[in-house]
């Protein structure tokens, strides 16, 4: 664990000069049966920044984020072409195991989805499936992850209680903690606040700001204000294409594409 922290702090110094991409996406196409859901997607996702993906319903933003950890393959009729390079490796390479990818690229889902287990076991699940049995290490990972997800103080006295006893917002932060427990490199968030009330949403947004110091974050949101508030770069998806991808401030103040402007000013979508 210490080693990881050191590596991260070293990288932090480097990153101020140049932004290294964690993902390079090249000519990614995806079909659900006959339905061409993603068309020639091509862009880079920078390290230790928040990349927001916005767009109207059905534009392929959720599909896209799920290609990054290959969760999209759980739909049986999916076909893909093109490549996604994650830190110099093509994730579609048959030699690159999907389990290995997902230990590096964690995911937080739209609806809070804790396991029907205790709070402790939820967070310890990731380390356990990766073979960590030492109780002391697990205890530390659980505490660190729950602190990292800003929920430690709320749950520290009830770690053995069932996670379903938590409120929706707490459950979602628990899911974020569960994701942090595998010490990922990238965190994918698929509309993580769409099922939450405004106060819980605010907490998660603050948390994202905190997390980007250590993790690269990709967040899908249907809430443009949220994208504007928390992201560094924003991609606007429409009908399976990337219409515009640039700095968040530029995209919202001075969009170069007419369709982006129409969307962010609320003319459609």
């Amino acid at each position: 664990m210490d080693i990881t922290i050191n590596k991260k702090s070293v990288q932090k110094g480097k990153e101020e000069q140049e932004v290294t991409p964690v993902f390079n996406i090249n000519n990614l196409n995806l079909w659900y049966g006959q339905d061409h859901a993603l068309k020639d997607i091509k862009f880079d996702i920078p390290e230790k920044q928040v990349t927001a993906i916005i767009g109207p319903s059905g534009c392929g933003k959720s599909t896209f984020i799920k290609t990054l950890n290959r969760m999209v393959e759980m739909v049986p009729i999916v076909r893909m072409s093109g490549e996604i390079i994650y830190r110099d490796k093509n994730i579609f390479d048959p030699k690159y195991g999907v389990e290995e990818l997902r230990t590096q690229v964690g995911m937080v889902f739209q609806k809070p989805n804790p396991f029907p287990k205790s709070i402790y076991d939820n967070v310890a699940y990731g380390p356990r499936i990766h073979g960590i049995k030492n109780k002391k290490v697990l205890d530390e990972v659980v505490e660190k992850s729950l602190r990292g997800a800003a929920i430690w103080d709320e749950v520290k006295d009830r770690l053995n209680e069932n996670a379903f006893g938590l409120s929706g917002g707490q459950q979602q932060r628990l899911c974020i903690a569960r994701c942090l427990a595998i010490e990922p490199d990238v965190i994918l968030m698929d509309e993580p606040t769409s099922a939450l009330d405004p106060i819980s949403t605010l907490k998660v947004e603050e948390l994202v700001q905190e997390l980007k110091k250590e993790y690269s974050i990709v967040i899908v949101t249907h809430n443009m204000q949220q994208a504007a508030r928390i992201s560094d770069r924003t991609a606007f998806f429409l009908n399976g294409e990337v219409v515009e991808y640039t700095d968040t401030s530029t995209l919202f103040s001075n969009p170069s594409d007419k369709r982006t402007e129409d969307y962010i000013t609320g003319r459609f979508g």
Partner: protein, 292 residues
């Protein structure tokens, strides 16, 4: 311009409410009828059986003298059969259910297998008895033994366990599987640590209910060759045996009135066993029931 005529609505009101009350009355009647039948049955059995019920009755072997006859051999035989049936049917049934739900491709062949399993659950039990007779007793040469009987019973309840387990596995929400896969868990880890524990209450409930069906079954074991008169308890898996329902059937078919009373006492014992098994099923369902 109102499209709805308030007058006619008012006129209809009375008959709607009358129909509502009539429906309620009908359902109460249906329930009371079944309760009444059950009550009469229970009363008759308790009335006839209680006088003969004693510790001696439980611990004695069958006898041609009613006052000395007991159900010890049948009781132990039932327990033996269950010790074979429960693990065999649980392991095979749950294994099949996991394969069908988690691994099998959803194609025409899987569908065909599914339909056939569901149909098997409705096949008369005597057919399973004939199957057991052919395969276990004759082909495998097990004879009319506890093992052959237990395996035949496993076949009988296997479809029920498979279907119940599949249902239980299907109720585990997709979201928590995704959460597990999303953390780099393998399929087996996801099944073992997430899907199976979440589905276990449903699986156990189904299994226990299926087993309690097996406890009351007579036909397949008669065909397999369970004995009607046994004055010993099975010593190993290859011993011959009898079970409670067969013993009861044997007693009720005798002319002497006293044996009918004995049968009633045996039914009380059988019902107590079933009641205990069903209570365990209900307990498990309530205790481990998880809301998602």
């Amino acid at each position: 311009m109102a499209l709805i005529n308030k007058e006619s609505v008012k006129k209809k009101m009375g008959s709607r409410i009358a129909a509502n009350n009539f429906a309620k009355f009908l359902f109460i009647l249906a329930t009371s009828f079944s309760l009444l039948v059950l009550g009469v049955l229970l009363f008759r059995i308790l009335d006839e059986g209680l006088p003969y019920l004693s510790l001696d009755f439980i611990t004695s072997f069958a006898s041609r003298l009613p006052e000395r006859a007991g159900i010890w051999a049948a009781l132990v035989g039932t327990i033996w059969i269950m010790t074979v049936t429960a693990p065999v049917s649980f392991i095979l049934g749950v294994g099949t259910a996991i394969y069908l739900e988690e691994y099998a491709k959803k194609n025409a062949f899987t569908k065909f297998v599914q339909i056939n399993i569901a149909n098997l659950a409705g096949v008369p039990s005597i057919v399973f008895g004939l199957l057991g007779l052919t395969i276990f007793v004759r082909l495998a040469g097990l004879g009319s033994s506890v093992l052959a009987g237990g395996l035949t019973m496993s076949l009988l309840i296997l479809p029920v366990i498979v279907v119940a387990s599949q249902e239980a596995i299907r109720t585990v929400p997709k979201e928590i599987r995704e959460a597990s896969f999303g953390m780099g868990a393998t399929k087996w880890q996801t099944i073992r640590r997430i899907v199976f524990p979440a589905a276990l209450p449903g699986i156990l409930t189904g299994t226990i209910l299926a087993l309690s069906r097996a406890v009351g079954e007579t036909a397949p074991l008669l065909v397999v060759g369970a004995l009607a008169y046994v004055a010993f308890v099975p010593e190993n898996l290859l011993s011959s045996f009898t079970v409670l329902p067969i013993q009861l059937y044997n007693w009720t078919s005798r002319p002497q009135e006293d044996f009918h009373m004995l049968a009633a006492s045996g039914i009380i014992i059988l019902m107590i066993i079933l009641l205990i098994m069903n209570s365990i099923a209900v307990y498990i369902r309530n205790k481990f029931h998880k809301r998602f």
